[in-house]
């Protein structure tokens, strides 16, 4: 399964370049995270993939086939499922009816509804009407509906909202399982550190464009990160101030002996530091701090 976005562009009357010439190729068996602040086109991108919005330029291809006639669109729709919005659930229907509805509409025969209910631990309430559900229960049900559709492409918009830590961990584990089954999962999430834990590819969007791509399977540049309050005790080096209150030094800029001396010095002066790639929160703050 390959999903290609070719030079997608979309502007609204009062908002130009919501999506501005985006080209991406995503493959089955991977989890793709899209990161950007609210109102910057993440959901719009998912709606373009779903053909819910029509791009003014470019096209969406699934295994080389694009949206065209209604028949073609239908064939593509059978390949993907969008995470429903909680408020759109049918209040008088039970959770189980929702799951069965999705399973039958997408002709899912391989994954049983019972299995999904067990995996998401929804046994206690699944037969009750949805109007009695809490926010977290509804969120789990919405996730279960996408699982019930069992499509090769899953579009998950803000799917971790309102979940407690246990359920965030549960969903993350399930996502990895779905990836292992060969699904292409495109997620939009604000739980960035959690996203970093399971996503294969992470795209940062700004002004309708992809401004940074992180392939988590590639070696990431390492940084020494120190809190700003220790600035006066640090040796003179090209430290960079990050908006999250950290001083950051890319180690590839340091010759080997300087690196060793710096680490020893930090340890000797009991200055707390972190050595590793930058986390998504740090990137997020770096890219969008000026916007907010």
């Amino acid at each position: 399964m390959e999903l290609q976005l070719q030079n997608l562009a979309l502007s609204f009357k009062n908002k130009p370049n919501v999506i501005h010439d985006i080209s991406l190729t995503m493959n089955g068996g991977s989890i793709v995270g899209i990161v950007a602040p609210n109102g910057t086109g993440k959901t719009t991108l998912l709606r373009l993939i779903l053909n819910d919005l029509k791009p003014q330029a470019g096209k969406v291809l699934v295994d080389g086939k694009s949206y065209g006639s209604q028949k073609q669109s239908l064939a593509l729709h059978r390949q993907m499922c969008l995470f429903p919005v909680q408020d759109d659930l049918y209040p008088d229907l039970s959770g189980k009816s929702h799951l069965e509805y999705y399973a039958k509409l997408w002709h899912n025969r391989s994954k049983s509804v019972k299995q999904i209910i067990n995996v998401l631990d929804m046994r206690d309430y699944i037969n009750q009407p949805v109007r009695t559900y809490s926010m977290g229960m509804k969120q789990r049900l919405c996730f279960g509906m996408v699982m019930a559709a069992n499509t090769p492409i899953m579009l998950l918009d803000e799917f971790m909202n309102g979940l407690d830590t246990i359920n965030v961990a549960r969903m993350s584990r399930i996502l990895r399982g779905l990836r292992a089954e060969g699904k292409l999962i495109i997620t939009v999430s604000h739980l960035l550190n959690n996203l970093q834990g399971y996503a294969d590819l992470i795209y940062f969007m700004r002004d309708g464009k992809i401004i940074k791509t992180i392939d988590q399977h590639e070696q990431q540049p390492l940084y020494i990160q120190v809190a700003e309050e220790n600035a006066s005790r640090l040796p003179r080096m090209p430290w960079e101030h990050y908006p999250n209150g950290m001083l950051v030094l890319p180690i590839q800029k340091l010759p080997g002996e300087h690196f060793n001396q710096l680490l020893l010095g930090l340890a000797a002066h009991h200055i707390p530091f972190k050595l590793g790639p930058l986390d998504l929160d740090t990137y997020f703050n770096e890219f969008y701090e000026t916007d907010q």
Partner: protein, 398 residues
């Protein structure tokens, strides 16, 4: 796709507005049944009490002097009193055949002599209810009802032992037909409109689900149409069931071969012919299903085009109740095309028994004309729906 059909069906039946509509219809049916026709006998068939009172008055009239009118009215009043006595005697003795024959003669007498009670040109008149109801043409309406009832009694007069419930038009099948003529079908079409009126717009509350479903808009609207028709079939079965429970234990099922009258016109020659009740009910059902289809598709089209339910509702109401707008102003008589206007075909029972032909003074408004007029509009709606739902970017929910 069965899953979508079942889900839509469930949605339709758990929708509180829809449940309220069906509930109100059921209560209205029961109320109408208890207080109004068709539970009562036709007004043309007087009860024994009324007959006795009238007969005694007529006998008293015969025995009094009336000056110059004596020669004119006394013999006819005597004849009328005799007919009334025959009816009463037959009723008392339980001789139904004799009662039917006497009633046919009684109705025939009224046709010959009855006049508007205000005109005072004759002491005989049709049932007074026609004059109390503020009708535009009470004499004509009463004469029509008289002829129609006579025609339905003639075949009974040929039977050896006609059934009294059949004579009084109170058997189950006759009740259904009279109920249809008396407004039940209008109520059914109103329910159709209310069920269909927010089929698509209600999906806007579930937009993220509705728009991601792997279904073509054409398929979706067809399934929704079948869902409403299925619900209506259930509602009709329920309403018929209630009627059956109320009628059959007291008046029996009746026969589908019983005659109902059909008013027709050939040029200027008007005539009433008998029609088997079974055929009449079948034709009525066919026309009703066509009208239901029309209203469902009209509402779907309006929702697809305008994304709100009000326009469909207003258009449907205009079609269903719009006939009096031109009928009351006399346009129906001055413009012959009104016989082909869609609002003229909103009561299938009136088309089947020729009441519309009588009202429009035409012979054109037959069930076949109904099929042509309603069918033409349906074809037009289907073409528009097909185009709208097959556009490249068509969607049932915007």
């Amino acid at each position: 796709m069965m899953a979508y059909f079942r889900f839509q069906f469930h949605q339709l039946l758990t929708n509180r507005k829809n449940l309220a509509v069906i509930g109100i219809a059921l209560v209205a049916l029961i109320c109408q049944f208890v207080f109004f026709p068709p539970n009562t006998t036709p007004v043309e068939l007087p009860t024994a009490t009324v007959l006795t009172r009238d007969r005694d008055k007529n006998i008293a009239f015969v025995n009094e002097s009336h000056g110059p009118n004596t020669a004119v009215w006394v013999p006819s009043t005597r004849e009328f009193a005799k007919l009334e006595t025959q009816m009463l005697t037959a009723q008392k003795q339980g001789k139904n055949k004799a009662y039917v024959r006497a009633t046919i003669n009684y109705l025939g007498f009224l046709r010959r002599y009855a006049a508007n009670p205000d005109a005072q040109s004759s002491p005989f008149h049709y049932p007074l209810t026609y004059y109390y109801e503020n009708r535009q043409y009470p004499d004509a309406d009463a004469a029509y009802a008289n002829v129609v009832l006579t025609q339905s009694l003639i075949p009974l007069a040929k039977q050896a032992h006609p059934d009294v419930s059949t004579i009084h038009q109170q058997t189950f099948w006759q009740t259904l037909f009279r109920g249809a003529l008396g407004g039940w079908l209008t109520a059914l079409l109103l329910i159709t409109i209310l069920l269909a009126n927010d089929l698509l717009t209600s999906e806007q509350r579930h937009r993220s689900i509705a728009r991601s479903l792997p279904l073509s808009p054409w398929h979706a609207i067809n399934t929704k149409t079948l869902t409403v028709l299925g619900t209506l079939a259930g509602a009709v079965t329920l309403l018929i069931g209630v009627t059956a429970v109320c009628v059959i234990p007291f008046h029996g099922l009746g026969s589908l071969t019983t005659a109902v009258s059909n008013f027709a016109k050939n040029g200027s020659y008007a005539y009433v012919q008998p029609l088997a009740l079974g055929s009449a009910l079948l034709m009525m059902l066919g026309l009703t299903v066509l009208l239901m289809w029309l209203f469902i598709r009209l509402n779907l089209l309006c929702q697809l085009l305008f994304h709100n339910e009000l326009i469909g509702l207003v258009l449907s109401a205009l079609l269903l109740f719009g006939e009096p707008l031109y009928f009351m102003q006399g346009i129906a008589f001055s413009v012959p095309q009104t016989a082909y206007y869609l609002p003229s075909y909103m009561n299938p029972a009136a088309i089947v028994n020729g009441l519309q032909n009588f009202r429009y003074d035409t012979g054109q408004m037959t069930p076949l004309s109904g099929v042509i007029v309603i069918g033409s509009v349906i074809v037009l709606l289907e073409i528009m729906l097909f185009i709208v739902t097959h556009r490249r970017h068509a969607a049932t929910v915007k």
